[in-house]
Symmetry: C2
Subunit: 237 residues, 2 copies
DNA sequence: ATCCAATGTGTTCTATAGACACAAACCTAT
DNA sequence: ATAGGTTTGTGTCTATAGAACACATTGGAT
C-alpha cells in the first residue's frame, strides 16, 4: 500500500513514471435490443476468441483516445446497424480484473433499442444475428451478466419513459404495444389495465386509421407523440 | 473509419500494434456523503492542479492494473476514512475526452455513506474536509456534475432502501431520521406521513429506550434491523 | 346469416400518498 | 407543585394508482 495517495495529476501527467496505469483498456459493450416475431431480441456476434469459440458476445469495441465514451457506443451502434437516431443509455461499468481473458479491459455497458426492420443492416459480416433474449443461456466473457443488467434497466425504464417507440413501426395498435411490453417484461398483462395505464401516461396519439390485414375486428392505430433519444432525468415519476 | 471492426482480442492482446488504446487512464471518483449539524456533507479535497487552484475536488484515484474497479473505490474510501464496512454503490461513468485537463481519464463515480463521527479519520492531511452539499457551487473538473448525479441517485435510493443507517448512530429517534431525510432531499416532510411511510418499510426496530438530554418530551429510540452494504437489486419495489 | 376473434369500455377492491389536529409526555422555570 | 413550552404519538379523509374481473360491439371469414 502506498504511503501517499497520488492524485490524477501525478499519474496522468507524468506518464513515464506511471506507465502501468495505462495497461487498462477501456471499451464499451452495447446491448442492442430489437423486436421481431413477438420476441425481444439482442444483436450478437460470434466470438472469435479461442476460449469462447461457439459462444456469442455483445457488440463492443475499444474506446478511441479522442472519442467520448458515449460517442464510442454510438459508433459501435452505427457501424453495426447503420442507425444513429436511436435510444442509447449507459447502464453500468464492469471492471473486474479477470473479466476478460486477453487482458485488463474495463467496459461500460450501454443498451439501445432499434427497429430490426428499419435499419440498413451492416450485417454483411454474417457473424451477426438477432438472438431471442429468452433463449440465451450463456455468452462470452461476462456478457451474460451485462445483458441481464441491461435487461433489468430496460424493464424498469419502459414503465416510466416512452422509450419503446424505437422498437415499433410508426403506427401500431395498442395490442402490438402490449405484446411488446409482455415480451420485454416476460409476463402477461391484463389488457384493460394496460390500456388504462398507457392512457394515463399521455405518450400516444390516437389516429383515425385502423389496422389492416387482420382477420378480426381491427383496432385503432396509435403513434408516439415524443421520440426521446435519451432519458433526460433518470428519475422515477 | 476503419473498414473492419477489431475486437477486443486484437487490440488488447497485440498491445504493440494498438498501443494508443492504452492512453486512456481509468479512475474512480468517490462521492462520500456524511451528515453533521443537520446538513448533508461530502468529503472534498483541495485540488492541487494549477488550473483549478482554490477549487475542491472529489476523492479519486487511478485504478491499479491488478485491482477490480469496485475494489479501487473501496480502497480510496478506506485510505481516506479508515472505514471499510460502508455502503458503496456505482453510479455512472464519465468519459468525455476533455473532462480532465491533464489527459484522457475515464472515471467511474461511486457514492457512499459514512458516519462522520465513527471513523478514525485519515484526515491528517488537512486538505480534506466535509463540505455542506447545499453550498457547493463549483468543483474541479466535472466533479460538480458527478456530485449532482450521485446526489440524485442517493435521493432515489433512500426511499426504497435502508441505506441511510450509515449516516446515523446505532440508536436514533424518528425525528433524527426525518431530519436526515429532509437534509438529503432538500425538502421538508410531514411528520405523521413520514412516520407512517417508514413504519410500512419495516426497516426499524423500536427499542425500549428513550432519547436523553433533550429539553422536551423524549422520543423512543430505534435502530435499523439490516445493515445493507450494497443494493442487491437496483429495482424499484 | 352466422361464427369467430379481437376491440373497447367501467366497477370494485385494495394500497399508498398527502393534508391535516389534538391529547399526552417530559422538561424547565417559577 | 404548578404552569408553560416543546415535541411525541396517533388516525381520518381524500385522491390516486394498481389489480381483478365481464360483456356488448365490430369487422372479417365462411
Amino acid at each position: 500500500m502506498r504511503a501517499n495517495h497520488p492524485n490524477l495529476k501525478t499519474a496522468a501527467v507524468e506518464k513515464s513514471s506511471h506507465r502501468e496505469y495505462f495497461n487498462i483498456a477501456v471499451s464499451v459493450d452495447c446491448v442492442i435490443f430489437g423486436y421481431e416475431d413477438k420476441e425481444l431480441r439482442v444483436l450478437l456476434i460470434k466470438s472469435d476468441l479461442e476460449e469462447f469459440s461457439g459462444l456469442f458476445s455483445l457488440l463492443g469495441d475499444l474506446v478511441r483516445p479522442d472519442e467520448d465514451l458515449d460517442a464510442a457506443s454510438y459508433r459501435v451502434l452505427k457501424e453495426r446497424t447503420g442507425l444513429d437516431d436511436v435510444f442509447l443509455q449507459q447502464v453500468h461499468t464492469f471492471g473486474a480484473v479477470k473479466r476478460h481473458p486477453s487482458g485488463r479491459v474495463v467496459s461500460t455497458a450501454y443498451y439501445s433499442l432499434v427497429n430490426i426492420h428499419n435499419h440498413k443492416l451492416n450485417i454483411d459480416c454474417h457473424d451477426l444475428h438477432w438472438h431471442p433474449v429468452q433463449t440465451i443461456k450463456k455468452l462470452a466473457f461476462d456478457h451474460k451478466q451485462i445483458l441481464d443488467t441491461c435487461l433489468n434497466m430496460l424493464r424498469e425504464q419502459i414503465m416510466d419513459h416512452p422509450v419503446v417507440h424505437n422498437l415499433l413501426p410508426e403506427k401500431f395498435s395498442l395490442r402490438a404495444l402490449q405484446e411488446l411490453y409482455e415480451a420485454i417484461l416476460g409476463t402477461s398483462l391484463d389488457r384493460r389495465n394496460f390500456r388504462k395505464k398507457i392512457a394515463l401516461k399521455s405518450w400516444l396519439s390516437e389516429l383515425d386509421e385502423l389496422e389492416e390485414d387482420v382477420t378480426h375486428r381491427p383496432g385503432k392505430l396509435h403513434k408516439f407523440k415524443t421520440k426521446a433519444l435519451k432519458i433526460s432525468a433518470p428519475k422515477k415519476n
